[in-house]
Amino acid sequence: MKFLCVDCDRQMLFEERQLPGDGTLAAAFRCPQCGRAVGLLTNPMETQLVASLGVKIGGTTIDPQPLETVRGMVTTGRDEAFAEGTGDGGRGTSVTWSVEAQERLARVPNFVRGMVKKIYADYARDRGLAEITPAVMDTARSELGLEGM
């Protein structure tokens, strides 16, 4: 999937992704010449199909977690499927979670919680953030393309 600014005959470049949380996706592409931006909006089925391929429109900056698609998409997984999935997760120094962020994390099914926790913790550390808040989680979701986490 590519976008061409026909007037300028230039390939438009991915700029930003948004996940409104209703199963749809929005991605913005901009023409490097005239600056015009277009939005790509995918419906839930299209969004799902892309996610099923394990790819992210707009790419991502992090390596996939082990079994990322399975853990992120399976709804009938066992709580105890992963022995270390609920551990502290993530490398190095720990970041703190605000109470609201902890509440939100607690609503994530146990099957995938360990992975979600690790991804957010790594994200915060990489950006030098000391505390994870719901706002940080929202930004991370869009930036990393984590629909449904």
Binding site: L49, V74, A81
Partner: protein, 264 residues
């Protein structure tokens, strides 16, 4: 005047989105993980219920007894039976930075299966819009196969057996994911119906460049009659590796393993 729109392939500027690049990276992860695997062997039949999973487990255990490092990837995500057949208890899988540790059978067979991940008795369910699930469900199962290949810490293995569900779809997905097509071992029962279904599967595998290692005929001592094993082996010019009776002993599997490995 129509607009002058260049074609997809004419647009070659690098773009951060790079979906083809992401797919290529997935393939590289599979190839890297399997670099230590001597050979991937898919057990296939084109017919349900003929004993593919039973044979996969019996053969894997025999390989391990014979000193080969063996693993089994249970690629039947909707009816996974391999952990039970290998007598691997379902407990938590250990996660490391570089992958998931596969549980190991008493004989030393490494295994990964959807049965290790699913709640007891629950079918494999995916998050997503139900209405169009036929569009994306098979794609997700192919993604699961890719992750089972790439994200399980298989380590060095002589043989990675892949227990396929009936049909040819999962074989096709496997062949596309691997750097080279898997070798194929086909399982049939003696009947002509099984012969005809398995023939199609073998033809399909051969057309995709897979090496056919041979045929295993199962349930040979009744109630089924026919000579499907012999007929298919002759037709495809491959060995009839074994004729497996009901409730075979260990020796039967040990013999199959040796014949498959050419050390009989």
């Amino acid at each position: 005047m129509p607009l002058n729109i260049r074609t997809y392939h004419e647009l070659t500027e690098p773009d951060r989105s790079g979906l083809p690049g992401q797919i290529a990276a997935q393939r590289r992860r599979v190839a890297a993980r399997l670099a230590g695997v001597g050979r991937v062997v898919a057990l296939m039949s084109g017919k349900g219920g003929v004993g593919k999973s039973f044979a996969t487990a019996g053969l894997a255990r025999a390989l391990a007894r014979g000193g080969w490092a063996a693993g089994v990837l249970d690629a039947d995500f909707n009816g996974p039976t391999i952990p039970a057949l290998l007598r691997i208890p379902v407990t938590g899988c250990t996660l490391h930075e570089n992958g998931v540790e596969p549980p190991v059978s008493p004989e030393g067979v490494r295994c990964f299966s959807m049965a290790l991940l699913l709640q007891d008795g629950r079918p494999l369910g995916f998050r997503g819009p139900e209405a169009e699930s036929h569009v994306w469900r098979e794609t997700l199962e192919a993604a699961a196969l890719r992750e089972f290949l790439a994200d399980v810490a298989w380590g060095a293995l002589d043989r990675l057996l892949v227990d396929l569900p009936p049909g040819i779809q999962r074989f096709q997905e496997l062949a596309e994911l691997l750097p080279a097509p898997p070798a194929v071992l086909t399982v049939t029962i003696p009947t002509t119906e099984s012969r005809d279904a398995v023939r199609r599967a073998m033809q399909f595998a051969r057309e995709r460049g897979a090496e056919l290692l041979g045929v295993v005929e199962n349930m040979v001592d009744g109630p089924f009659t026919g000579d499907a094993g012999e007929a298919l082996a002759r037709e495809f010019g491959v060995p009839l590796l074994a004729r497996i009776p009901w409730h075979p002993t260990q020796d039967v599997w040990d013999e199959v393993a040796r014949r498959m490995e050419g050390v009989a």
